[in-house]
């Protein structure tokens, strides 16, 4: 019901990134790798929200689901707490495989990589199908456990991009949490800290778009306010 200008811009970025990565990708692997590392060091998980093709794929799935008015699948708090260690387990598995065995296990769980590789075994197709299904029902479900995302997330705390909050003016209306694809509870609950950048945050700015209170949530880059929440409620299409 609100304007989604930032999201529109972000989808554009993702689209351009996909085109660039697919057409130029193979020749410029090293450059892309360096860029990705640099961006992680400086902007944390920003890459996830604006570049990663798998993130884009998941967003397209969610967009389709929302168009069809199929409800989001919400995991209960208990299940969530059981799933919490999973992302670390996957990260350790990923790192050991890459560092010690030269394997790229991520190929098997990332649909984009699997699709682009030549040999499609039944095993792969099933995995891709399951991941796609889960990501269709839950926005950015894969991102919650993605090892690359977890790695970048470690740099969110020192990132130059920050999500900030004016706690007293927050009405606890929950709009931000409901829209957050990464289910970050602290953006909604926090009242005392002003820097609320979470290590899971992909800087999608959906919380800022959703928040109906003037200037309560904002995004700052190098300490300068770039975006902030507004009460500009637009009609539903």
């Amino acid at each position: 019901m609100k304007q989604r200008k930032i999201t529109a811009f972000r989808i554009m970025c993702l689209l351009i990134a996909v085109v660039v990565l697919v057409f130029l990708g193979s020749g410029y692997r090293i450059i892309i790798l360096l860029l990705s590392i640099f961006s992680a060091l400086v902007f944390g998980r920003l890459w996830c929200g604006y570049v990663c093709p798998l993130g884009f794929y998941q967003e397209l799935l969610s967009m389709l689901r929302k168009k069809l008015h199929i409800p989001t699948f919400h995991v209960s708090l208990k299940v969530k707490s059981y799933l919490r260690p999973l992302k670390w387990i996957i990260l350790v598995y990923f790192l050991t495989s890459v560092l010690f065995f030269g394997l790229r296990p991520v190929m098997y769980i990332r649909p984009d990589l699997s699709f682009s590789s030549a040999d499609m075994s039944i095993y792969k197709i099933i995995i891709v199908g399951i991941v796609t299904g889960i990501c269709f029902l839950k926005e950015r479900a894969f991102c919650k456990y993605c090892p690359l995302g977890t790695l970048r997330g470690l740099f969110n705390k020192i990132s130059f991009g920050k999500i900030e909050k004016d706690g007293t003016a927050c009405t606890h209306c929950r709009a931000c949490l409901e829209c957050c694809p990464m289910d970050i509870r602290s953006i909604y609950e926090e009242r005392n800290k002003s820097d609320i950048t979470h290590s899971d945050c992909i800087y999608c700015m959906k919380c800022i778009e959703a928040c109906p209170e003037q200037d309560v949530l904002s995004f700052t880059l190098f300490g300068k306010k770039i975006l902030s929440s507004k009460r500009n409620i637009k009609q539903v299409k």
Partner: protein, 410 residues
């Protein structure tokens, strides 16, 4: 009830309501477009007009109007503020219960207001003890669906509240035999949203440095929303806002600024505008309020992430329960922060803490609000009263002293 007594009550109700309406429009400063809203109230409370809508009654602010519209009914806020009805309700509910309950029960028992008779059923949220217990009393008059509300705002309880909303939808469907439609739900979200946008502008105009409208007028405009459709209300509120903005631009700054008063506490419902009228009579400007029938009625918007029925119900639960600052919840920080913010925005110089006799939840939180106001260096005056005009003189004397205090502090 005897025919003659009933007639007398009817006349009295009309008279009291007409009196309040007259006072609203007698300030010599009647904004263009206000008449539509006073007419809505007049139709309901003075002329007792019948219409052919079917209503679903509700209490408090936790029952989503959107849901009621989605079933093709019109919502009707049953919380009443009428002194005559409260007098009659005195015999139905306990003496120490709050006058809102008395008046509501009174209206049901008297059967004078046609819209109360047009209620197909009532959805009563289990909020304060009085409302909880009065559900059984009201079930003598019409079918009642109780809506349990978790009084703990934690994440665990959110899931429960959401389930309660789903269950409410099923209960309404079972009771009325009507199917609910997702399309209508989206439409009602849309029109209520439009009304809220206008309400937000109106709140802004009232809290401006030199408001072009009085607090009681704004309260009446907002209150009339309960007896109108959101579409029509929004359309006329737009006209009112446009007129007020124009007027504000043309207004000369006052030489002597009026004392700016914020009203906190128990609900103030038409026609019981005793407190705002007295304040305004003493030359004060009401710049805002946190009552559930005015300042909070149309404040928080519904922001769904997706428009499936579950998605909208989540957003409704978030807006109607999580953002709610009623004193019945365990956590008080939401109310205190929202008060802090509102006092800052409205640049209030004094807080009138209104307590309806018998409304303990608000009275319990008084000390916390006093502490907060102390920190902000704003004086607070607790006024305990009910709907009758008997104590008007006494209240006036206290308010007078308070206004004087504010002027001295400048």
């Amino acid at each position: 009830m005897e025919e003659r007594t009933l007639e007398r009550y009817k006349r009295n109700i009309s008279r009291v309501s007409a009196g309040s309406l007259k006072q609203l429009t007698s300030t010599g400063n009647v904004p263009k477009g206000l008449e539509y809203f006073t007419n809505v109230l007049k139709r309901t409370f003075v002329d007792f007009e019948k219409d052919d809508n079917e209503y679903i009654g509700s209490y408090c602010v936790m029952v989503p109007d959107e849901m009621i519209y989605a079933f093709g009914y019109r919502p009707l806020r049953l919380c009443a503020g009428h002194s005559v009805a409260a007098m009659i309700g005195d015999e139905i509910v306990p003496r120490d219960a709050c006058p809102v309950l008395k008046a509501t029960a009174g209206f049901h028992a008297m059967r004078v207001m046609p819209i109360y008779q047009q209620c197909r059923l009532a959805v009563l949220p289990m909020t304060c003890d009085g409302k909880r217990k009065s559900a059984a009393l009201l079930s003598q008059y019409l079918p009642v669906i109780p809506l349990p509300i978790e009084m703990d705002k934690s994440e665990e309880r959110f899931a429960q509240n959401l389930q309660n909303m789903h269950a409410l939808m099923k209960s309404i469907s079972k009771e009325t035999g009507r199917r609910f439609s997702n399309r209508k739900l989206i439409e009602s979200c849309k029109s209520i949203n439009a009304a809220q946008q206008e309400a937000y502008k109106l709140y802004g105009l009232l809290s401006s440095d030199n408001p072009p409208v009085t607090g009681s007028q704004v309260m009446a405009v907002l209150n009339s929303y309960c007896y109108d459709t959101p579409e029509s209300w929004a359309q006329h509120a737009k006209i009112l806002n446009a007129g007020l903005s124009q007027k504000a631009a043309a207004m000369q700054p006052l030489k002597r600024k009026k004392p700016r008063i914020f009203i906190a506490g128990s609900p103030i419902t038409f026609p019981n505008y005793k407190l705002p009228f007295l304040m305004e009579g003493l030359g004060a400007q009401i710049v805002g309020d946190e009552t559930c029938m005015a300042g909070r009625l149309l404040y928080d918007p519904v922001v769904p992430d997706e428009y499936s029925t579950d998605g909208i119900l989540r957003a409704l639960t978030a807006r109607y329960v999580c953002a709610c600052t009623c004193p019945v919840f365990e956590q008080t920080d939401d109310r205190l922060s929202s008060l802090t913010e509102k006092l800052r925005q409205t640049k209030a110089e004094g807080v009138i803490y209104h307590i309806l006799r018998g409304c303990t939840p608000y009275d319990f939180e008084l000390s916390m609000v006093e502490q907060l106001a102390d920190k902000l260096d704003i004086p607070v005056l607790r006024v305990e009263t009910d709907f009758s005009a008997e104590d008007a003189e006494q209240v006036k004397i206290r308010l007078e002293a308070f206004v004087e205090l504010i002027e001295q502090r400048r």
